[in-house]
């Protein structure tokens, strides 16, 4: 079991990928959602600190309403934090986001965490009737409004991207008086400074390349927080991974899964397909946490040290991974990787 007094937080993260069942067929969307729920229950039992579910609106992923799935998880778990990873605030309504997550907070006894972001995909824009031209202003205005709503007092606000509010009181209020909120950032310095300005903790989505390059972003976050007169919060990292008993088994399983998923997404963006060399680079020195528990633990510990992070969320079950391998991966992560990372970070 993972000790609760640790200063570090370890999470798992899913977008609700359609997994491969024992009969070799892909899960349905409904089955994929129920699978994530079962995995969250397991993660809670094993002492994993958090589960984040990302909002997507694409055929590969079953989760478009993270907080609905999290609500299901809430009533069956005890300790695990229930986070979105991320909630695409730009194409959502800050008032409703607060209402849904404060409801989740109630159901879970104060375990809800909203991770606000702009997302790495943009399909929510046409889906909900927003214009990509307004990408910047939508996020800028909505995070400003959301920060006000979080004070849990009547809100007066006006802007361009939604109807004005005058002394609007929003319910349910949380028991703690503050809904836990973070900002997910992919590498835009402007977004880092924005998180610092609103005094939100920072989650860095590092999905490629050497995590060391994000050390500068952590420093920027600290410096900007100080300039705004805020105390910087601990920083978290979110990256994809795959853990198996041995390096060899993990590499063999991960290569086709990651290639298939990244190539499919990459194709719509005009990226060339992944080469074995690209995969090897990401595994060796980049941001794919693939390997045995020992290999992955060392890689996580290095990334957390070099960035100065106190939280690590691993995206698991990437692509059409087998249901049994997903379960095994969560067990290895909880029972072997997390304790070893803590040890490597000097925590016994």
């Amino acid at each position: 079991m993972i000790k609760k007094t640790s200063k570090y937080t370890f999470g798992i993260d899913s977008f609700g990928d359609l997994a491969t069942k024992e009969d070799g067929k892909l899960t349905s969307y409904a089955e994929a959602i129920r699978l994530v729920t079962e995995e969250a229950v397991l993660a809670d039992k094993l002492g994993i600190n958090a589960i984040s579910l990302g909002e997507h609106h694409r055929e590969e992923f079953a989760i478009s309403s993270p907080e609905m799935v999290l609500a299901g998880i809430a009533t069956r778990t005890k300790n695990i934090k229930l986070a979105s990873g991320v909630t695409v605030l730009s194409s959502d309504d800050p008032v409703r986001v607060f209402e849904r997550f404060s409801t989740l907070d109630a159901l879970s006894g104060g375990r809800a965490q909203v991770i606000l972001g702009r997302g790495s995909f943009t399909e929510s824009f046409p889906l909900f009737g927003y214009d990509l031209e307004d990408y910047e202003i939508l996020f800028e205005e909505k995070i400003e409004l959301f920060a006000k709503i979080l004070e849990e007092k009547p809100v007066t606000w006006s802007g361009r991207t939604r109807a004005a509010l005058k002394d609007a009181d929003i319910f349910p209020k949380t028991e703690s008086g503050r809904l836990e909120t973070m900002v997910g950032v992919g590498g835009s310095p402007k977004s880092v400074i924005r998180a610092a300005r609103y005094n939100f903790p920072l989650m860095l989505a590092i999905i490629g390349g050497d995590p060391a390059r994000f050390a500068g972003y952590a420093e920027l976050y600290k410096r900007a927080s100080e300039e705004f007169g805020n105390t910087p919060h601990p920083i978290g990292i979110h990256s994809p991974g795959l853990i198996a008993e041995t390096n060899e088994a993990a590499f063999k399983m991960a290569w086709p899964l990651f290639k298939q998923s990244f190539d499919k997404i990459g194709r719509t963006r005009g990226w060339a397909p992944w080469t074995p060399e690209h995969f090897d680079n990401e595994v060796q020195s980049g941001s794919l946490y693939v390997g045995s528990p020992e290999t992955v633990a060392h890689k996580i510990a290095r990334a957390m040290k070099v960035v100065g992070a106190e939280r690590f969320d691993m995206v698991y079950g990437f692509g059409p991974m087998e249901v049994s391998a997903r379960k095994k991966m969560i067990e290895l992560y909880a029972n072997e990787v997390i304790p070893r990372v803590k040890e490597l970070l000097g925590e016994k």
Binding site: G209, D210, R213, A224, R269, A272, H278
Partner: protein, 220 residues
Amino acid sequence: MIESVGILGAGKLGLVLARLALKAGFKVNIAGSGSPDEISLSMSVLAPGAVAMTQADVIKQSDVIILALPLGKYKTIAVDGLDDKLVIDAMNYWWEVDGIRPDLDDVHKSTSEIIRDFLPTNRVVKAFSHMGYHDLLDGSRPANSSDRKAIALAGDNRDDVALVEEFIDKFGFDPVYIGALQEGIRLQPGSNLFGANPTKKELLELLNHFSDSDLGKRLA
């Protein structure tokens, strides 16, 4: 002789190019979409030494200008003072940022030709456009390193191309000239080179198989 590098665009790509230019010993001037104040803190932490200034000042004070803005915003470039400047176009059409823009997705005209036609200068060279920004940052190596990566470039004027070749080399990559600016289309999204992180040999090989890529098929 290039001594100072001006970068328009202070996002992920602009930042990486600023760091590479500083590492190569150039003086670096950079402008974002807003006032210099908005990016000065980011620059002091992430690219210490790069000087945040207005677009107009960047253009005035730099020997070469690198365009690293979202392509869809190219009409916001302050063209005054660009008359005889050498410009490196590192931009790509990226629909998720630019929105759906058929004008930027013309198989008969490379986006760098659109830029050349818009700017008062004819001295436009396409480079640093096909490699992902973190591969750019992580991949810079001294000359003759066995794992040195390559950057393709396209341009009409041989003297300018030579300047940019030298420039790419100083940034830590092997330059590979692929032809006139219109050939730059072979580096755009949908090509087999776009997003690849090749050595010189691999890059030449990829060019040979361009016609098999999604973009190659559209062009056929």
